[in-house]
Symmetry: C2
Subunit: 169 residues, 2 copies
């Protein structure tokens, strides 16, 4: 089981955007530069986050990305599902119905217990991700940063690269 | 996030082997035939299950596979980790340390809060899988099978294909 690298990039980018002032937007290329990742790869994930309603895209030379709602209203689950898609990790192929001497499909109305057990675990995973908001991540990153230097580096970069855009409608 | 198809196949194969009598073993080819899956692909997963200590491999013309311990002592987590490997789904690349104006590595002694949150969810997932034994799966499959026909088909196949091997040491 493996999540794509895009998940880590997306979470970090969203957390950085959570620190933007109200009129601030960040270009994708700058978000990529700060995180040392491929700009085209990150752009793909930013677009997925936009499609999922987590980011706003402001076009034009002063454009960029910003959160579409408050960081307290975006969870890790929202980000993971936006980047990885909504399907559960375990995808039942109903192999119980295959093989020699097949039985009529009507005998398999009860869901396969194996699938049900795997989906219970997926639910526990998602419940845990749903508990963590981007605001909590940002607060945690600040708390871990005893000297304040990590936050200062991020803030300086934001200040230097962010663009000022029309306030939210 | 996606688990390989091998996980479903491995769980079904292990659950079928849980129904073997004490001296019974099943050849990989028959397990594959019953589940309508590629024999070489299933074999790869059976070998992973053996390496993880979940199956015993009995070589020779009367050989095959059987569980290495009681079905009450094998969990879904054992099977998933044997097939997919022990790494968590989220693999932190420490991208917080990348980018321009890097800070000294010594400033990043606290684990990244994003990684920590993702690992908490992984733990919840694994805890849930650890709760489900192969014995419980087998009991559940029997309970779901109102007419008994699904179990009867499986048992008939086992009876026809299993081999009798020396008892466990």
């Amino acid at each position: 089981m493996k999540l794509g690298d895009g998940v880590e990039q997306a979470i970090h980018a969203v957390t950085m955007m959570a620190a933007l002032p109200d009129d601030g937007v960040m270009p994708a290329a700058d978000l990529a530069e700060f995180h040392g990742v491929s700009s085209s790869y990150l752009l793909k994930h930013l677009q997925s986050l936009s499609r999922a309603g987590l980011l706003q895209t402001l076009p034009g030379p002063r454009g960029g990305y910003r959160l579409a709602r408050s960081p307290a209203e975006i969870t890790l689950l929202d980000i993971v599902l936006a980047v990885e898609g909504p399907e559960p990790a375990f995808r039942c192929r109903e192999i119980r119905q295959r093989g020699p001497n097949p039985l009529p499909q009507s005998m398999f109305t009860a869901p396969c217990g194996i699938n049900a057990a795997m989906l219970r675990a997926e639910r526990a995973y998602r419940d845990e991700l749903r508990k963590v908001t981007v605001q909590a991540l940002l607060d945690g990153l600040t708390a871990e940063d005893r000297t304040g230097d990590i936050a200062a580096r991020g803030c300086a970069f934001l200040q230097a690269r962010m663009r000022h855009s029309p306030p939210r409608s």
